[in-house]
């Protein structure tokens, strides 16, 4: 569905070098701190920037060759961009009906009503959350096969976020061949939604794992200095010096549970994983 191989993009103070894949029927998440390269990666996928090397394929075609037919099968939300703020939702209808053969006008307008989005108000007068809702509803409105979503829940309150995440799940369940690539700084959104997760830091993929494995097999070990000295570190991915001793990230939770009953083993959330992968040291 989507494949990046050694895609490179060099700016004055930033370099992207990224490989990733989104398989049919899968929801793939991208996490990373601000400025890590998430948006640049999505822009490369969408052909919004010209890459300096590598290959990017979307829906089986090189990005440079994406035509109208392929683009109508994409549903896109960008973090800091959207429909012109000078337009109203009702102004968008004729345009979207022309652009997307499968645009469901009535369903879209009904959803707008459900999410309290006024159709006769300029979009620039919407709050950040309202704008994001509008773009999410649009991305889901035309039977897109591949959703590319950059921070789609940014600016939304907790209830709206839950509703939107449920809509994503329903959308994916409707048809088997739909896929989704989603970036978010809210790790909880991705934990409960994604099949696999990529972590990007300084323009590079530093981690890729199935979410089930991530939540089931990864753990944070907390121990004293003495326990750390005796620890078998062959399954430790990262460690950090703490005021109580050490914390270590492992992908073999069961091994440490069985062999080091005195060490505290905490189940990992993605937030802790990000912190350890980025700030922790390699053995």
């Amino acid at each position: 569905m989507l494949k990046l191989k050694d895609v490179k993009k060099t700016y004055k103070d930033f370099e992207l070098d990224c490989s990733m894949e989104v398989r049919p029927g899968m929801i793939t998440g991208v996490v990373g701190k601000n400025g890590a390269g998430k948006t640049t990666t999505l822009k490369a996928i969408l052909g919004l920037i010209k890459t300096d090397g590598g290959t990017a394929e979307v829906l089986g075609k090189p990005v440079e060759e994406l035509g109208k037919a392929e683009r109508t099968q994409l549903g896109v939300v960008m973090a800091d961009s959207g429909f012109s703020g000078y337009l109203e939702i009702r102004d968008l209808m004729p345009m979207l009906e022309r652009m997307y053969p499968k645009f469901e006008r009535d369903v879209f307008l009904e959803k707008c009503k459900q999410f309290h989005l006024p159709v006769d108000k300029k979009i620039k007068e919407f709050s950040t959350g309202m704008r994001q809702k509008l773009h999410v509803l649009f991305a889901l409105s035309h039977d897109a096969r591949l959703l590319i979503l950059d921070e789609p829940t940014a600016g939304m309150d907790v209830l709206a976020r839950d509703e939107i995440l449920d809509m994503f799940r329903e959308y994916m369940e409707e048809k088997e061949d739909r896929s989704m690539l989603i970036s978010s700084h809210i790790a909880g959104d991705l934990e409960n939604l994604c099949d696999d997760i990529y972590m990007i830091d300084d323009g590079r993929v530093i981690f890729h794992e199935e979410t089930d494995a991530l939540l089931g097999e990864y753990a944070l070990l907390k121990m004293t200095d003495e326990q750390y000295q005796k620890l078998d570190k062959s399954h430790v991915l990262r460690f950090r010096k703490e005021n109580y001793g050490y914390s270590c990230l492992t992908d073999q939770k069961a091994f440490y549970l069985d062999n080091y009953p005195d060490v505290t083993v905490e189940n990992n959330g993605i937030d802790k994983l990000i912190t350890m992968m980025i700030r922790g040291e390699r053995i």
């Binding site: 969408l46 052909g47 919004l48 037919a69 961009s81 012109s84 000078y86 652009m99």
Partner: protein
């Protein structure tokens, strides 16, 4: 392309009050005007409506909107073509409407007394609008696409100075080469209206095509 035209028409609708005031002014002045002011009103309306194309580019880019726009099923080439098409529709539409108003008032006030008056008036006003709009937009659309709304104004002033320098320099060069400039102008004046029209039309079409091609090149290279 139709989808983009519909979008720009929707943007135009948002500015309807401004354009209604403009149209009202044209109608108002036409009641107190002579033929020369009619011509000014028609050219002015053509320019104003054509220039709205530049505003639509600004609206597209407002708040980083171009990034999202180019994720939609439109090509960059199609975007550029649509802008030129929109400019043509706006300028032609407003020129025709303003001309109709001025003709109506002109007949009612008996400013136009015979067919020759009307032909001269139409040639002056429509020709003036066409030349001015084509010249301005052929330069300003690529500049705006390349530099954005703010910077393009500065570059536009620079471009005008550059054109003036080229014209002045060209005249000086012709003098140095002993080319009879006066003779050339006299020749142009003596040429038939049809010849002048054809030469002018070819020049304008060529200029618009070159401008369109340059704009496409700018958009193809642009990163968002």
């Amino acid at each position: 392309m139709m989808a983009l035209l519909l979008k720009d028409l929707a943007l135009l609708k948002q500015q309807k009050q401004f354009f209604l005031v403009m149209a009202g002014l044209v109608v108002f002045y036409s009641f107190f005007a002579s033929g020369a002011v009619f011509t000014f009103a028609i050219v002015y309306m053509g320019i104003m409506m054509g220039m709205f194309t530049l505003s639509t580019i600004s609206y597209d880019e407002y708040n980083n909107g171009a990034v999202f726009l180019f994720t939609l099923p439109i090509s960059r080439r199609e975007y550029v073509l649509e802008k030129y098409m929109f400019a043509a529709i706006m300028s032609a539409g407003s020129t025709v409407a303003a001309t109709a108003v001025c003709l109506g008032v002109g007949y009612a006030k008996e400013i136009f007394t015979n067919g020759t008056d009307v032909v001269e008036f139409l040639a002056g006003s429509i020709g003036g609008a066409l030349v001015t709009v084509c010249l301005m937009l052929s330069l300003m659309i690529p500049l705006q696409l390349k530099f954005g709304a703010e910077k393009s104004r500065i570059v536009w002033i620079g471009a005008l100075l550059g054109i003036a320098a080229v014209v002045f320099g060209g005249a000086k060069l012709m003098q140095l080469l002993n080319v009879d400039v006066g003779g050339l102008i006299n020749g142009a004046e003596q040429a038939s209206a049809a010849t002048v029209t054809v030469v002018l039309a070819v020049l304008l079409v060529g200029m618009v095509l070159v401008s369109c091609r340059v704009s496409m090149g700018i958009m193809e290279k642009k990163e968002f």
